[in-house]
Point group: C2
Chain length 374, copies 2
Amino acid sequence: MKEEFRVTPWEVSGKIDYSKLIKQFGVSKLDKELLKRIEKHAGELHLFLRRKVFFAHRDLNWLLDEYEKGNKFFLYTGRAPSGAVHLGHLFPWILCKWLQDKFGAEMWFQFPDEEKFLFKKNLSFEDVEKSLNENMLDVIALGFDPKKTHFLVDTKHANLMYKEACKVAKKITFSTVKASFGLNDSSNIGSIFYTSMQAVPAFLPSVLKKKKIPCLIPLGVDQDPHFRIARDVIPKLGYDKPALIHNVFLPPLSGMGGKMSSSESNVAILTTDSPKEVRRKINKYAFSGGRATIEEHRKKGGNPDVDVSFQYLRMFFEPDDKKLQKIYEDYKSGELLTSELKDILIKKINNFLAKHQKKRKLAKKQISKFLYKD
Amino acid sequence: MKEEFRVTPWEVSGKIDYSKLIKQFGVSKLDKELLKRIEKHAGELHLFLRRKVFFAHRDLNWLLDEYEKGNKFFLYTGRAPSGAVHLGHLFPWILCKWLQDKFGAEMWFQFPDEEKFLFKKNLSFEDVEKSLNENMLDVIALGFDPKKTHFLVDTKHANLMYKEACKVAKKITFSTVKASFGLNDSSNIGSIFYTSMQAVPAFLPSVLKKKKIPCLIPLGVDQDPHFRIARDVIPKLGYDKPALIHNVFLPPLSGMGGKMSSSESNVAILTTDSPKEVRRKINKYAFSGGRATIEEHRKKGGNPDVDVSFQYLRMFFEPDDKKLQKIYEDYKSGELLTSELKDILIKKINNFLAKHQKKRKLAKKQISKFLYKD
């Protein structure tokens, strides 16, 4: 039987059926009850939670039990530096920022600068270094509290991380990574070892503070295999399994399948795109649920469920549920044309990016405040 | 066909035929011509060179060519901390000290504190840490110049080493380490990665000084597989292959097969053994080439070629060739009894250890001088 879609840390393709993925990965659905528990503590629910951008989890109930007992969690997420940041990358980061604000959580942000180096044939550490600095600016621009936020760069924090990674590595066989990541005998031995480094920040704060601190990892669902292994190993080292909360992928402009990717920059909105560039990309490439002619559209209406512009508004840019509902209905009835819908989105994105890019510039002087110091 | 002997970084067993090993490993014999080249520069030949304790090499002629062009080499050897140091461990270290003196060479000494942790099931990092400090004392006690000698501890110098190890790792497939080290799918992913870390000190000084510096690695021949791989990879990173010079194993007291091991402490002389302990071990366990009775020994003579005490004198403790020759002949003729031969050795070892242990005590305050600082 042909796979209809494929989700691994290194490949996302096909039209993803997230209900199937929940079963395939053995994660739990992020249900109403759990959302209510979050809302109770946060006072509200972030758009990403309300709109099911975050759709699955592992052990989130346990994490909230601990929180209710007064045992605060820390957040861990990351970014393997390579190329530009696009809007899809921001899902877990923005949720982290919201969780930091609402739960007073410390944030550990990993930049595994060896990951892409090890997995991409022609990438050098010099290439990675350039992306690293640029990528850090995007994280800082989201407004994290520098006093509560710590950046870890694998090769620069190796004194802190390599020993812990060895402890993880000792508990993982090649068979396990082979099965989880599709590696084989021709894989390089750095790529085989790598998942051990990705596991470390999930318990490093517990090592440093010499007590068990619960960990919550917001992450793209494609990263789940790393933490399936990490969750097996970490209790063997005397720490608690990290809880996970998974987001869906922001689709590329070209349509509702797969995952936005910076390497296909025509169908990705980068955080550094100019207003003109955003307009060009959306007008030219954003897959439309509209009809072939204006007349037909007015008569039969469009399909917002496959319309990428509408989906971006739903998943990211229109927080007002009532306004979104109206756009949905107007598009479906044919009252709202594709060009008008795109225009709404373009303005929203450009508004978001104008602020982001301003904060991104200011971030250049702040990097050292965020880098973890022993 | 049954293997008669086995030499890998993790197992040495059987009566080793070093001529066969030269062919098996594809190393070159350390011949007279080469020894003369060394002697020309050093003014003399160390006992370990004269007596073929160091018996094989890779690219030593190239190293001397470079030296003659004014391109000085540095030395690299190491010790995976675990348990006590025995006399056999000292072969490469003592040669390094001699080479440092004679060639003015910088010395990089690696303590890969993760190696035994990764390869030994029940060993913890706490266990390793204890051995690490003890082992460092033995190295310092040999008299290295602290200004020209740098200790690298893998987990403590990971900021310096991990990135370089990733560069090495990217060029090595699992197939390669499988074949070289007998690893398999059940091996842990730390043990699979490890050889990358062992390769790093062979080119790290070149990285730091931003120019190619030739490297010479004195090492037990069982470590050759690590550097067979490293020598393939290092030129791909833009540096020269390190030259190697290999020593035979000091046999255990029990006889001329295998390799002395600290875990079988009755048949190993540890650097911390008391004079009484040395006497007990040698009198009780040192395999003798003598006859069953004194009468028979006087009549037929002993066999120094299989007598461990004689071999220790030859390989380590009697630098005077004439004296050694006389002992050989006297033992063979039966004039020298086994008890007398053992007595000669016991005095020599205890004399050596008395000095070593004194310097070992003084070394406690010197460790920080030897640890490499960025």
